[in-house]
């Protein structure tokens, strides 16, 4: 009896994981899907073909999101790597850690409300650079916290050996610390990329509707009650990270605990 109950629960969990993607895919291909039909009467590629047509914002949103996420991921990974070293070595470690935690745990929307005027005064509101910098406000602390837990005695010993052999601080980074941390740098970049790829609150506030990332486009379609195109945009958001997550499952979560 308990075994059957376990099988039912496991099936439920598996279904819960796979249904969203299947549902969104069907929805993006649906034509004439009216109440109370359980499945659409017809499936068509015409909505997907819309992506390649000129003048639509889905492809441009996809490319823009890709640019922002890649640049934010790269900058936050390297900035977090260097800052985490500073925090670990600092006498005021707890204070710096507390300050690093703050923006990361804030609601992005409320953070956006508070810092909006700075971006406005610097003429960064509604620009690609402005949105990227705004995203850095939450993703850079994430990357810093990610690496704070990474440094251990092994890295300290490696650094000391390199210094004993005459390496300066830049060389220690260049030839010892960065090569020894390549795996974790990749993991951090990928997770930072995902955080940026999924970001909505700060991007909508700082982007003031001019910088249309994929999440902003989804919301725009939802507001217009254009559910099929919203589903299409949702597919564009979730398919690339799903593929990457499955491909990199082992590397990504090896050190999560």
């Amino acid at each position: 009896m308990f075994k059957i109950f376990k099988i039912i629960l496991l099936t439920f969990l598996g279904t819960m994981c796979i249904v969203p993607i299947i549902y969104l895919l069907i929805f993006s291909l649906a034509e004439n899907w009216f109440y109370p039909q359980i499945l659409p009467s017809n499936l068509t590629w015409k909505h997907w073909k819309y992506i390649t047509q000129s003048g639509n914002n889905l492809l441009s949103g996809f490319i823009l999101s890709l640019f922002i996420s890649t640049s934010v991921g790269l900058v936050s990974t390297f900035a977090g790597f260097i800052t985490s070293r500073f925090i670990i070595k600092s006498k005021n470690k707890q204070t710096w850690l507390f300050l690093t935690y703050l923006p990361f745990v804030f609601s992005p929307v409320i953070l956006g409300i508070s810092v909006f005027v700075i971006f406005l005064k610097l003429n960064l509101a509604g620009t690609f650079i402005g949105v990227s910098l705004a995203q850095l406000l939450i993703i850079y602390p994430f990357a810093t916290l990610f690496f704070v837990g990474f440094w251990n005695n092994k890295h300290k010993q490696l650094e000391e050996i390199a210094k004993t052999m005459g390496a300066n601080s830049f060389q220690v980074y260049q030839y010892v610390l960065i090569p020894a941390s390549t795996g974790m740098l990749m993991v951090c970049f990928f997770q930072s990329f995902l955080l940026s790829w999924f970001e909505y609150g700060l991007s909508s506030r700082i982007g003031i509707g001019k910088v249309k990332t994929l999440t902003i486009i989804v919301f725009q379609y939802i507001n217009e009650s254009n559910s099929i195109y919203a589903a299409l945009a949702c597919c564009l958001i979730i398919i690339p990270p799903t593929v990457l997550l499955i491909l990199n499952k082992r590397i990504l979560f090896r050190k999560i605990a």
């Binding site: 300050l99 703050l102 745990v105 409320i110 810092v115 949702c234």
Partner: protein
Amino acid sequence: MILESMWLKSKLNSFGFILLCCLNIIPLACGFIYSLAYSFGLVGIGNGFTLVHWKKILFDFHIYFSFAYSFYIAIVALLIIVFTSLFFAINFKKKLSKGYFSYLLHIPLAIPAIVAGFLSFQLFSKSGWISRFFLSLGFINTNSQFPDIVNDDFGISIIITHVFIAIPFFTIYFLKLYQSENLELFSNASFTLGANHFQTNQKIIIPILLKAAFPVILLYLLFLFGSYEIPLLLGSQSYEMVSVLAERKLQRFDLNDIPGGYVIAIIYFLVTSIFVYQSNRIKNNFNHV
């Protein structure tokens, strides 16, 4: 050589400090000071120092209700998430650690809040897929008989959506903790000493997992407390979570509402800061035990 090395070292350390200041401390401090100044009428539409906006917000029942409502959503969702994930991680650890299920479990991690909110709306609304399914089974005769799950006052759809997003993440997290904390050894020792499965889980595995995951659980509570996209899409008109309320106040056409939005932002800032400070203290106490 020594001088050059010291100079480079201090330069790199300074660079870390400069980055922390430029990308974290200065924007945060500027945002806080500006919000404070706006809420006291010193900048923006104000004509000078005033406590009117603070009094207006602090004597407004809706604000307290919004904070309480956000806390209710966060706590209920978190309790369901943590205990369901624990249940799955403990009872299905072998199935979920390898094979197809381990891959399936990673899929929801690629679903952002906005997509989850949209999906929940499509599934749970009166004309959604579940309503259609119930109609086809004959459980309901029209869509009006389907219960109000979306945009309801109890935030059921908000809780369901958060639970859906977070259960796979916490299950994976608990599975990894199970390995890193060597719980297999502990449970074997417990069985050898005569404990049954229930006792082993209750006295050893669950306490160790909860203690190890406590900082992450606390941070997730804050994340749920400040969530925006999901309550924006699925929340009710009458009860709003804090982020939605603050954003709405700032987007109104009535300019007099803007300082109120900044007051809420400051209260949220203070509540979150106290929470982070306390959770850091608890975490440090845990580490010292």
